[in-house]
Amino acid sequence: MALALSRRAVLATGTAMALAPWPRSVLAQDKPAELIVRAWGGVWVESLENGVSRPFTERTGIPVRHDLTEDNEIRPKIWAAVDQGRAPPIHVNWDTSTNATKSALRGVTEDLGDLANLADMLPAARPAGFDGVPLINMYSYVYVLAYRDEAFPDGPPDSWQIMLDPRFKGRVALYDDGIGFHPSAQIAGGGKFEDIPDNMEPAWEFIRKLKAQNPLLGEDPDFTSWFQNGEIDVACTILSNARAAKQSGIAVSWTVPKEGAKVDTDGMWIPKGLPENELFWAKEYVNFAMSQEAQQAWTSGLGLPGLRPGLTPPEDLVGDPAYPSSPEDFARLISVPTRILVEHESDWFQKFNEIMQG
């Protein structure tokens, strides 16, 4: 923290300039040749391009390049660069809040507390447990129970227990590290939310039963293609992937089961070690991503609720419990504090692997 404080002191002089909306002098003098923003592929990078990057380039004249390196793979590269005092490989990292928090704990992220648009965001945009603002949460998303309509002629499933139904043997899918599923499995396995992280045995018991179902394990784009190719009937995945399959004409729906579903957030952060002018424009990019205009376009593309009040939800998601907008919606979702995720999620991944690979 001492390091972060001194860093902030050094930057204090630049703050006043950054608050002003792109003064002519800066626009003219210090533009970098391009900004590099790490992103996820598929529907994710598409909506970022349309909602944030293209409008940003139109305003500033700075081209934005998207680096599709996996979030998990870019992290050690950034850490190594900061450790060795080199310039980091990207300007802005679009990241899961949990991973972003790990980088923040390591002290490799710039403080973003001085960004003007942050004041207009919901309180959840600021990460808890830090003095400053080492990252900004941009939107939330739900790990829903997605299913093929055809497999449920008698109506949608209402419980995660459906994954254990013998007729779905070999036709259930999860993320390959079980991300987003551990808390839901805890409740579905008869455990209590309060016991996370100290007693997760009910979750592991549920996952062990699920292992006997021969589940498929994959990453974001896998879910969409598995639904398209008829490989699976049910899955625990982020709403956006199921919605992408549905938009391509596959009869796929989703639900928040009675046990609830994990809600999480993604954010953005800027690695330390950028030259002064590049840091300035990277911050302007993140600031722009929080603007009303960018939030509306970007999060509608994703089908996810942005963390800025007053956004209009996409038509197909109005009233959808997986697109939480009211306090009642949020009450049905399971929100695990980032602090716990940062400390324990690696163990959960390992435990999940242990069961699945055994």
Binding site: N72, R106, S346
Partner: protein, 309 residues
Amino acid sequence: MSRSPGLRVLDALEGVRATLWPRPLAPLTPWAFLVPALLLTGLLVAALVPLADASLRQLDRATFRLDESWSLANYAAVLARPVYGVMALRTLGGALIVTAVTLLLAFPYAWLMVRTARPALRRLLLISLFLPFFIGQVVRAYGWLVVLGQQGLANSLLAALGLPPLTILYTFPGVLVGLVQYMLPFAVLMLAPALTAVPEEVELASAGLGATPLRTLWRVVLPLARPGLVAAGVVVFTLTLTDFAMPEIMGGGTNDFIASAVYDAFFQLGDPGLGGAIAILMTAVGSLAVGAVLALFGLGTLGYVEERR
């Protein structure tokens, strides 16, 4: 005397060589040719050093940095977790099965390719051998998804015949099928020269002396092709042992090989110490296995020494 331009270029190069590398240095020439290979090998060994160093340092979850001091904690963690044993056994067993099946399929293929009197057949065999090389492992794996998927070609065919669908994709046998198909060209390419070195007359002689074709295969062709078989086996075994893409793509996530565990440790868990420990252990096991094979069959099997006139 007029000489072709090509010969003149060669003569000019020879002049340059004579200046840079005068005759007294000639005894060193074989070593000079080895320099690039030694450099590459040296680089690989050098890359193992930081890996080994990381494997001796534990990750601090508070800062996500490795410890300053050395310990064997990562190795203890690897050995304490049964899942790594399961994955290591799956990888070793898979590599053995894939090696055996690949050699079994590659041998007749290479034999036919070398022995056939029909040029058209040889060309067909060669083309089918090289085509997959141009396609690459990942695309081929996706090709298998198209063929073996629930609604893939194989199952459409079975359905048309009124048979129940086949579930091979996303199972362990499915991974092995993909690996065998991937490894087959390597094995054939390493076996073909070894079989070319076995004169057809020797096979005829054996038959004339009273050996049935199977006995000729066992007593004459296999022993003479041994260098090729050992080389192909070692290559297929080590490539399979370290393969990542095929189990990832065709295993459906629950049939990972040990390389996936290294990847997960590095990237999913962000723990280079643990990843390093798994990688070092895996390198050790692989080297031991290859060393044992070479010790058993003699280093000469790779050098084609002796036995050739």
